[in-house]
Symmetry: C2
Subunit: 192 residues, 2 copies
Amino acid sequence: MASPRRDKLVQTALHLFCQRGFHATGIDTILAESGVAKMTLYNHFASKDELIVAVLQLRQKQFFAWLDEANERIGSAADLPEGRLGALFDALKVWLLEAKLNGCIFTNAGAEFGNDDNPINQEVKRYKRARIDYIKNVLRELTVNDPDTLAKQTCMLLDGAIVAVQAGLEETSFDIAKSAALLLIAQQRTSK
Amino acid sequence: MASPRRDKLVQTALHLFCQRGFHATGIDTILAESGVAKMTLYNHFASKDELIVAVLQLRQKQFFAWLDEANERIGSAADLPEGRLGALFDALKVWLLEAKLNGCIFTNAGAEFGNDDNPINQEVKRYKRARIDYIKNVLRELTVNDPDTLAKQTCMLLDGAIVAVQAGLEETSFDIAKSAALLLIAQQRTSK
DNA sequence: CAAAAACCATACAGACCTGTATAGTTCGAA
DNA sequence: TTCGAACTATACAGGTCTGTATGGTTTTTG
């Protein structure tokens, strides 16, 4: 399953899909950029859609690995429990602004392939759910009333901020989203 | 500028773009669905991109007209000031779930044409800004501390909820977003 | 070394795409 | 009724797209 050409293809495709979108990125562009032959691509993937699914799976793996790492790095630094979520927000802001991405690749995939149950959409769903679960676990540690709702609200604020930045609004959107999330969490902790 | 064929084209295109996306919807599909000849299209629009811009402009007009109407309808019914924003959220939920849209057409346009300053993206930006301003005006009437930040947070929650529903998560996302927005507004009003 | 697997280069099929060219038609207004 | 504008129908140019066919080359492995 693992192969250097395959990996190169998926990584290159990830890069291009992030910047130009899925439909707007042709197979030939990916091949030219990666230096891999077309027949090799179709030896590893039955179709472009399969490649897209592999790209989304790679991205998901990358993201959660990075999130784990960021979470551990914060670990000792955050004395107040709210500090952990705040630091996570800051880290996410860096992650999302580092490469000049065009928004979130999962949200974008939902936009381009939405409205039916193809494997691409299932991957999007899987990612969104996993992210909520991750935040939920972080929140559980902070002993809030309703971690489920709060995790969903946090993810919505995050996605909303990404969309705002993508539309060309100010990058302070992330900070504004962060302060909202912290207010919500504080509200749950005081009213306990 | 106004012409029955032109209107038919834009309306049909709006419908198709909403459901299938922009790149995935060919000109010929729009022509077949609308029953208009190809030369008529290119008499009214120089290119497909121009048609897309017209579609986004129509949608923007529709949306804010509907928003005005909903806002007036609420007007007398909401006794508590928070009630107005809550009722607006409920109305937006209906607007967004009524036709089986695939998310927000402006967010989707940002996903497909992002990362440079084409006219399409400018239209997306214009919409997002106008929506923030609209909410800001509603909030000003409720005398909150920082209407600007609160309006942005509200819009982020809204966009986040739309993305969540688009990804196939529960439609209760809207209600969860609403409760977050109401908490944020209450927080600002009590701490004054 | 030899056999097998992976990969490359090129050409191409077939579909679809945007946009144009051309010629005929409807229809309202001067 | 005649002129002109808007529209239709059809064909097509030129490009791009995904995916395949073919045959040669490299790399790995037994």
